[in-house]
C-alpha cells in the first residue's frame, strides 16, 4: 500500500465528510427558517417534526465537525505549559501515555457507540416513524473519524494532509 493510496482514501473521506456537514447544516437552517415563516403565515401550520429533527441532525453536524476540528487543531487545549515547565525527558514519557489514553478513550466511545446504536434499532423518535439509531450512529462514526485524525497526527507528528490555512475562530 503506498502513501499515495492512503492520501487518496483520506481525500475522499474528507470530501464526503465536508459535503455531509454542509448539506446537513444547510438543511437544518433551511427547515428552521421555513418553520418560522410558516408559523407567522396565516393558514399555514408549522411541521411538527422540525424541532426534533433539527436537534438530532445537529448531533451529526457536531460529531462530524469535531473530527474536522482535530484536523485544524481548533479544539480547546493547553500544551504550551507542559513544554515550558516539564523537562524534555519527562515529556518523552508523558506524551506516549497521553496518546495511549486518547486512543483507548476513543475506542471505548466507538465500541459503546456501536453498542447503543444497535440496541436502539427498534427505538422510534417522537414525530416521525424512524429509528433513533440513525442519529445514535453519529457517535461511533464521528468517534472513528476523530480517531483517524489523531492516529494520523500521532504517526506523522503533524497532520500530513492538512494544508496550512488559517481558520478564523
Amino acid at each position: 500500500m503506498s502513501r499515495a493510496f492512503f492520501s487518496t482514501v483520506y481525500t475522499v473521506v474528507d470530501r464526503v465528510r465536508m459535503t455531509a456537514v454542509i448539506l446537513v447544516f444547510g438543511f437544518i437552517i433551511t427547515i428552521g427558517a421555513v418553520q418560522i415563516f410558516m408559523r407567522y403565515t396565516p393558514g399555514l401550520n408549522p411541521w411538527s417534526w422540525v424541532s426534533e429533527i433539527m436537534r438530532y441532525l445537529n448531533i451529526w453536524v457536531v460529531m462530524l465537525s469535531a473530527s474536522i476540528g482535530v484536523k485544524y487543531g481548533t479544539h480547546l487545549k493547553m500544551d504550551y505549559l507542559l513544554y515550558k515547565i516539564v523537562p524534555e525527558r519527562a515529556i518523552r514519557i508523558i506524551l506516549p501515555l497521553t496518546r495511549i489514553m486518547i486512543v483507548l478513550a476513543l475506542c471505548l466511545l466507538i465500541y459503546y457507540g456501536v453498542q447503543r446504536t444497535s440496541a436502539n434499532l427498534r427505538t422510534v423518535i417522537h414525530s416521525l416513524p424512524i429509528s433513533i439509531a440513525w442519529f445514535y450512529a453519529a457517535i461511533p462514526l464521528g468517534g472513528a473519524l476523530i480517531l483517524m485524525e489523531y492516529l494520523l497526527i500521532f504517526i506523522h507528528g503533524t497532520h500530513p494532509y492538512h494544508v496550512e490555512q488559517k481558520l478564523e475562530v
Binding site: 447544516f25 474536522i68 476540528g69 485544524y72 479544539h75 508523558i94 466511545l109 457517535i139
Partner: protein, 427 residues
C-alpha cells in the same frame, strides 16, 4: 468529597498534559466510571443527550450568524463607526477596540468571535501605531468579555438551558453590566495610556463623518434590536432568533455590503460547524462528567458548604466566585457552565437571591476564566493574533482584569444593575 477532589485534580492534570479538553473530560469520566462501578453506556447516553437540545441549537445558529457577519464585513462598518465616535480621544485605537466590542456584542454572542473578529482588525493597527503587543492583547481580550455579557450571549443561552431560567430575562439582565464593563475598560485604558506614556496622533471629531458612518453602519447597528425585541417579546425563541440573525447577515452580505458570494458559503458553514463542534462536544463530555459528580452528591454538598460554612449570603457568594475563578484558570467557561450552572443557581436561590440577578452574576464570574492564564480562550486568541506567547500579556492584562472583577462584585452587591432593565420589560 474525596472523589470529587480527585476528579478535578485528574481532569486538570490531564489538561496540563496537553490532552484536548473534551478528551481530558472523557478520559476522567472513564477512569471514575471504572472506580465507581458505573456502566459505560452512560457515556453514549449523555453525549447524545448533551447535544440533543432545541435551546442549545441557538449556539450553532449564533456562531453561523457571527461568521456570516464577519465575512459580510459588518465588523469593518462597526470599527469605522466606533472610530467616528471615539477616535478623537487620546488613545483612540484602544477606545475604538472597546467600543467596537460593545457594538459587536450586541450582534453576536461569543467572546471568542469578538476576540478574533475585532482583534484581527485592531491588534495589527494598534501595534503599528506603537502600542505594545502585550497591551493590544490586554485591551482586546478584556473587551471580548463584553461579548457574552451584552445580549445575545451563548453563555447565557447555556446557563438558561441548565437552569430553566428565561433566556430573555437573562439577556436583559446582562445589558447594563456589559455597558459598565465597556465604559470601565475605557477608563482603565485612558489611565494606562498615560502611565505607559503613549502619545499617538488622533483625528479630530467630525460631525459630518460621524453622520456618514452612522448611515453606512445603520443596518449593522439595528441588528441587536431585532434580536432583543424578538426574544424579549416572545416573537421567536432564542434558537429562532439565531436563525433570523443568520438570515439577516446573508441578506446584508449579499445585497447591502455585497461582500458575500455563494462561493464563500461552504467555507463559512464548515468553519461555523467546526466551532460549534468544539463548543458542543465539550458540553457533551462535561455532561458525562457532571452525571458522575451528581451521583457523588457533589451539587448538594456544594450548596450545603456555601450555606453552612459562611453565614452571610454575600460572603458565601464571594466564596463561590473565588471557587469559579480558581477552576476557571484551568477549565473553559463552557465546561464551568455545563457542570456548575444548576448547583450554583440552586445555592444562590437558597440564599435568597433573585435567580436572574444571581444568574447574571454567575455567568460573568464563570466567564472570567476566559481571560485568566494559563487556560484563557480570549487571551489565547488575542495573543496568537498578536504573535506573542500568552503569558507575556498577563501583566498588561492585570488592571483590565481587576476592573472586570470589580464590576462582577458590583453586579453581586447592586441587584438593580441587572434587575433594573428586566423590571422595565417584566414589571
Amino acid at each position: 468529597m474525596f472523589y470529587v477532589l480527585l476528579i478535578f485534580v485528574t481532569l486538570i492534570a490531564l489538561i496540563f498534559a496537553g490532552i484536548p479538553v473534551f478528551l481530558a473530560t472523557l478520559i476522567t469520566s472513564i477512569l471514575f466510571m471504572i472506580i465507581l462501578d458505573l456502566p459505560f453506556s452512560i457515556i453514549i447516553i449523555r453525549v447524545f443527550g448533551g447535544i440533543d437540545s432545541f435551546s442549545l441549537m441557538a449556539i450553532p445558529f449564533f456562531i453561523l450568524a457571527g461568521n456570516i457577519m464577519m465575512e459580510a464585513k459588518i465588523t469593518d462598518k462597526i470599527v469605522e463607526f466606533s472610530n467616528a465616535m471615539v477616535g478623537q480621544f487620546k488613545g483612540g485605537l484602544g477606545h475604538i477596540n472597546i467600543v467596537s466590542s460593545m457594538f459587536f456584542a450586541g450582534i453576536q454572542g461569543s467572546g471568542a468571535a469578538d476576540a478574533s473578529a475585532i482583534g484581527s482588525v485592531l491588534i495589527p493597527s494598534m501595534t503599528k501605531q506603537g502600542y505594545g503587543r502585550d497591551y493590544a492583547v490586554a485591551v482586546t481580550a478584556s473587551s471580548s468579555m463584553i461579548g457574552p455579557i451584552i445580549p445575545p450571549s451563548i453563555a447565557m443561552i447555556m446557563y438558561a438551558y441548565y437552569t430553566d431560567l428565561s433566556v430573555g430575562r437573562l439577556f436583559l439582565g446582562g445589558f447594563v453590566p456589559g455597558v459598565i464593563v465597556g465604559l470601565g475598560l475605557m477608563a482603565v485604558h485612558a489611565v494606562f495610556y498615560r502611565i505607559r506614556k503613549y502619545d499617538f496622533p488622533t483625528r479630530r471629531f467630525d460631525i459630518r463623518y460621524f453622520l456618514q458612518t452612522l448611515k453606512r453602519s445603520a443596518l449593522a447597528l439595528i441588528m441587536p434590536f431585532i434580536i432583543l425585541f424578538g426574544i424579549v417579546f416572545g416573537v421567536f425563541t432564542p434558537t429562532e432568533s439565531g436563525i433570523i440573525a443568520s438570515l439577516y447577515g446573508l441578506v446584508y452580505g449579499f445585497f447591502f455590503s455585497r461582500e458575500l458570494t455563494v462561493k464563500k458559503l461552504p467555507k463559512i458553514m464548515i468553519d461555523s460547524a467546526t466551532m460549534t463542534a468544539v463548543v458542543m462536544i465539550t458540553i457533551a463530555m462535561a455532561g458525562v462528567l457532571s452525571n458522575i459528580l451528581v451521583r457523588l452528591h457533589f451539587q448538594s454538598n456544594m450548596i450545603n458548604f456555601a450555606l453552612e460554612t459562611v453565614g452571610n449570603r454575600h460572603m458565601a457568594s464571594l466564596l463561590i466566585m473565588v471557587f469559579m475563578l480558581i477552576l476557571g484558570c484551568f477549565l473553559d467557561p463552557t465546561v464551568l457552565i455545563a457542570m456548575f450552572a444548576a448547583p450554583v443557581l440552586a445555592a444562590g436561590t437558597a440564599m435568597g437571591f433573585d435567580p436572574i440577578h444571581f444568574g447574571v452574576f454567575a455567568v460573568v464570574a464563570m466567564q472570567l476564566g476566559a481571560i485568566t492564564p494559563p487556560v484563557g480562550t480570549f487571551l489565547f486568541i488575542s495573543s496568537s493574533i498578536a504573535g506573542i506567547p500568552l503569558e507575556k500579556a498577563v501583566r498588561a492584562m492585570l488592571p483590565f482584569f481587576t476592573l472586570i472583577l470589580i464590576v462582577t462584585l458590583l453586579i453581586l452587591f447592586i441587584p438593580g444593575l441587572t434587575l433594573g432593565v428586566v423590571g422595565l420589560f417584566f414589571p
